[in-house]
Subunit: 491 residues, 2 copies
């Protein structure tokens, strides 16, 4: 595998295995080569190469490679592959695999499985493991309880450093992390943590309550997973204590699970920003039909919301000013787009700030004022630009028909130098740029209020803000445009 390493000097340095190579090794029943792959290639890469294999070939792997090397490999297989494998496996093989896994990983897998397979797994688990899995399955998806592991080290605060190190050697192998040791007092209340490095540098007869960190953050079983990601980020945690209502430790969330949560949360935000139902399935594993199902409801909902725009535009079209000055219609998409975009920027800022808890719905007035100032600057600059740009568009004939009877006039044929043309061109430019200014100010206010309002009623700010903003701004921009048009062109 060395030659491949050299190829990749620009990016990363990692041994790889292709599906064909792996299949070939198994077909040849080459146990040595197989073991070599498991020694040098990261589990997740082997799992991806193995995901499309037949169950019998996977069983060959588990029978011929030590379980210490296959534990992570099993966890990294796709849910479909795991299910096929479990269905095809003898109970004896299964016992070995399941009991080499972390209980929280098995619980996640079992939670998404058909009942018959889930039962097969639970029967294969030993007593402690079964208890842990069942305990974890009780917690609602997306809470700290559903993320935590029950395999951690918790010692009494009067334990000495020497005793603690001895206990770690004894019990640490089953724990998901030994880098953070959790400490409780005699009444079982969680009181602090000790980092393994502090333990190593401490003198042997110190007690844990002398060296433990007391400035620790912990959460409760019902805490939302979005908050968990933020906690790890903010406090640079390696592991987080999960408490029950009596402040006793019932589980621990480790950094690898927290990283997965952060990824999940940012995927969810991105999906919602682009008006799709979030999913945790990778794109390539989602069929065209499933992807379509994530798109359709949103498109239809937005369409129905868009009816208001159609209605308003239809009514305005019947008005004199738009009939006599059809050029005004041509600027409608640009006005609507800018209205939506300006508010969308603000909504993006709000979604982010609310997500990382930089501010909350209580600061709405302060933020509204800040965005108002911002919108005057943005609106002023953009409107001034639009004024000039529209004069250019009209004089060069990019748009034609600036006023009744003025079709086809422009600088190229020298026909546009009448005061009448200038009067219409200036009024059109003034009308559109003033509309732009108002639209941007309103849009940034609406773009602030929608996500803030969602947060205030404890809804996901990313969920509906963007589409509602677009609809509200489409209608509002049309109204503003029409009102100003009546004043500028009193026909």
């Amino acid at each position: 595998m060395d030659e491949e390493k050299d190829e990749e000097k620009e990016g990363l340095n990692v041994a790889k295995v292709e599906s064909e190579q792996l299949q070939d090794i198994i077909d040849r029943k080459d146990r040595e080569a197989l073991k070599d792959v498991f020694l040098h290639v990261p589990s997740i890469d082997i799992a991806e190469a193995a995901n499309e294999m037949e169950a019998k070939d996977l069983i060959f792997i588990f029978r011929n490679v030590e379980s210490s090397l296959t534990a992570d490999f099993f966890d990294a297989l796709s849910q479909d592959t795991k299910e096929q494998l479990i269905a095809a496996m003898t109970n004896r093989d299964l016992v070995q695999i399941i009991n080499s896994q972390a209980a929280d990983d098995v619980a996640d897998t079992v939670g998404d499985m058909p009942a018959n397979l889930a039962n097969k797994v639970l029967r294969a688990a030993d007593k402690d493991m079964r208890k842990d899995i069942n305990a974890l399955l009780k917690y609602e998806e997306g809470t700290a309880g559903s993320l935590m592991t029950t395999e951690y080290l918790e010692f009494l605060d009067s334990t000495t450093v020497e005793e603690a190190i001895e206990l770690i050697r004894e019990r640490g192998r089953d724990a998901e992390t030994i880098y953070t040791i959790f400490v409780r007092n005699p009444s079982r209340r969680f009181v602090g943590t000790v980092d393994l490095d502090d333990l190593i540098f401490a003198s042997k007869d110190q007690k844990l309550n002398e060296i433990m960190n007391q400035d620790v953050v912990s959460c409760f079983v019902g805490t939302d997973q979005e908050e968990i990601g933020q906690l790890f980020r903010r406090y640079d945690l390696n592991a987080l204590a999960v408490l029950n209502d009596d402040s006793c430790l019932v589980g621990v969330i480790t950094i690898d699970d927290a990283v997965d949560v952060m990824t999940e949360e940012s995927n969810e935000d991105l999906a919602r920003m682009t008006n799709m139902e979030p999913t945790d399935k990778p794109y390539m594993e989602t069929g065209a039909w499933d992807n379509a199902k994530r798109c359709i409801p949103w498109l239809v909902a937005l369409l129905i919301l868009g009816t208001f725009t159609t209605m308003v535009l239809n009514r305005l079209e019947a008005q004199d000013v738009f009939v006599k000055l059809p050029i005004l219609i041509a600027f409608v998409p640009m006005l609507m787009d800018t209205g939506g975009n300006a508010g969308g920027q603000t909504t993006g800022l709000m979604i982010r700030g609310l997500a990382v808890k930089e501010f909350g719905p209580k600061q709405v007035l302060k933020i509204l004022f800040k965005e108002f100032k911002s919108s005057l600057i943005v609106g002023g600059v953009v409107a001034s630009f639009v004024f000039l740009w529209l004069l250019v568009e009209q004089y060069t004939g990019i748009v034609s028909g600036v006023g009744p009877g003025l079709e086809g006039l422009n600088i190229w044929n020298g026909s546009c130098w009448s005061p009448e043309f200038a009067g219409y061109a200036l009024r059109n430019a003034g009308l559109v740029s003033l509309t732009m200014l108002f639209a941007i100010v309103v849009s940034k206010a609406v773009g602030t209020l929608l996500p803030m309002g969602a947060a205030a009623i404890k809804k996901d700010p990313a969920l509906l803000s963007q589409p509602l903003l677009t609809t509200i701004m489409d209608v509002a921009t049309l109204m503003i445009y029409f009102a100003i048009a009546m004043a500028f062109h009193p026909i």
Copy 2:
């Protein structure tokens, strides 16, 4: 601080301190209370409370709390506060603070500082620290080199477990992580890692090359930080080796820095999706003017792109079919919005898939075909819905004027039951729904090609895809609409 803990039982469990409390403690010069705060409250929370204090009060903190407790506190202060503090501090105080920091954190701070302050810091740093800082400052922002720390533990592969544990006790205090030990061979090549827990469970006379992980991932100093985040996520790493071109270890990236990078990258994607310049400053620390500056260039650029739409719409308006059937104009915003939204969904999927390296630009044909299937389903369903919905809109008078001379007819006044009304209503509905089908198919293709194209020429797929898509689809939708309108309403 106990009473506050109880209040927050729903969310998290963390001791807090308010700016006023902290200011009060310092004004009273209450050293005991101050130390108590540093023992119980996480550093980042104290730093946030202290960010607005005067430099002399901050100096009081550093003089009266042990440096083991203030090291993280200093790192968590805002850049502005750090600079004021450094400017106001005596060299003797500064020496103590700087040398209790991690070299990579100091390098980050120094990199953003005015030269006179940066020099003051470098003079305060001891010899080793100064060498490390200068080495780190050489690397380009956004590369592995700029993220890594030079304080890590690297042992020879023939070291025994017992020797290694002894070396960790000796040198580990200065290392940024002791949980991952890096192993080199006699020719200085990086050959593997040993996790601290494996070391603890191994027998004393084993050598590191017997127990080390060989399936390790590493990167090079020039590797892009976006890839770093993905590596930590994919391989569940705690620390990542950074190599030079000779495959020798020159630095290590730890998980806390990787988490920051992931956050930065997802902020950047969100900013670009909402058409803003990315920034790493928090919202509350950015002035209205700075925020406006992030908004304006994008709005203006999008406006200029929008000129095409204005132009096309202006031309089409002059055509017979739109003049005689003004109702058709009313559906333009809805058609354009849906065109943009459908492609936006696909663009979101592409940006995500490309970001996590699930696929690359080489798979473009496969993905284009998949999105094509998807778009036929989405387009078929949405177009069918639109057909029915438009009949409802026309018959109920939500839009009025379905054909010339048919203004104001609807079911409420019973005036719409003529074959002429039905003919126009059906043709309008057919025209709009057919346009919708084509627009969705085209939009999903364009929404695939733009980010894929950006990735193929090594540009950020999130950068321009969304605005270009909107512009292209606005124009394309209008063209399709007009072409079909000519066929349906041969006036």
